[in-house]
Amino acid sequence: MEDKLDLKNVKQRINHIEEVLSSVAAGDLDVRVDSTVEDDLTGIEEAINILIEDLTYELKQSINMQNDLQEKLKKIQDQQKTIVQQQEDLMELSSPVSKVWDNILILPVIGTLDSQRTQIMMENLLQKIVDTGCTMAILDITGVPTVDTQVANHLLKTVTSARLLGADCIISGISPAIAQTIVHLGIDLSIIRTKATLQDAMIYAMKQNKKSDALITSNLDEIEEREE
């Protein structure tokens, strides 16, 4: 059975418990309450020891968790960097404007259009129109999978700005799916000249070229005739 509480020792033992508790509070988790005798205080001493064990375990657990989280965060940051890098690459690749014939520019659009990309595309196209002096621009959207209201709006804006510069824009390669969406969305593309394929657009543009050349020559002839 339990020994009688030895009052002489009690003060010393309580002091010891206090010391242990204060060092635990200071962060030292290796200390334990030593008890040599078994009496009424032993229960408390053991409880304190168990508490310290539990605390140590929880602390370890939370440190592990923190490390895990940090690793994951680093991974996510790396992925984000890759995404940004790829977006920049895509941006550079996305909008080549090439002159394919006298007076004719082609802008093939491939991939999904977002507002940032369309903005860059639009600026490139307009700048190229001014630089080359071409008055026909063909926007080929064969490679665009879907068109929503925003994209249609961007296309309209591009065509309108090109018109303000004095160039005609033709849109070619509208797929059945896109045609359906555009009509279902109620977007009016009738102010834009659309052609089925890039080939049709090229033929139209070249005819238009010829027409304007012919008109000018006939006009000049007329003026000459009048002068004679």
């Binding site: 307009l126 129109i129 001014v130 700005s161 510069l165 004095g166 160039a167 304007s212 006009n219």
Partner: protein, 128 residues
């Protein structure tokens, strides 16, 4: 008032066309003055076409934009076609973003193309 009058934008008549080259920054008063100046000149000379060169303008606000498109419709009811030439890409984007798409205004890349456009216009009218 006198100050603005001194800074008139020159209007040059060549053949049956008027050529206006805007080479200063436009402010609202100057724009309005230019508008009436051009219309008066159309009446006086009986010009059939007006070429407005805005290639130097780096900024066109909604007021100037509206003035330009207004002038085109005014001139067209006076039987003169207005062609705006040499608009800069940034200006075009700004105007479209402002919702000023200038329907009914003819545009051309440069003075030469604008001239061709007017010639073509004249030719088709003569054909009719």
């Amino acid at each position: 008032m006198d100050h603005f009058q001194e800074k008139k934008i020159p209007i040059i008549k060549i053949g049956s066309y008027l050529i206006v080259s805007i080479q200063v920054d436009m402010h609202d008063k100057l724009a309005l003055q230019l508008q009436s100046q051009i219309l008066e000149e159309i009446e006086k000379t009986g010009a059939k076409g007006v070429l407005i060169d805005i290639s130097v303008l780096e900024m066109v606000d909604s007021f100037i934009g509206r003035m330009l498109s207004g002038m085109a419709s005014m001139a067209s009811i006076m039987d003169a076609a207005v062609v705006i030439v040499g608009m800069q890409p940034a200006v075009a984007i700004t105007l479209v973003e402002l919702g000023l798409e200038m329907p009914g205004v003819d545009t051309a890349l440069n003075m030469e193309r604008g001239m061709e456009l007017l010639e073509r216009r004249m030719a088709s009218i003569n054909d009719d």
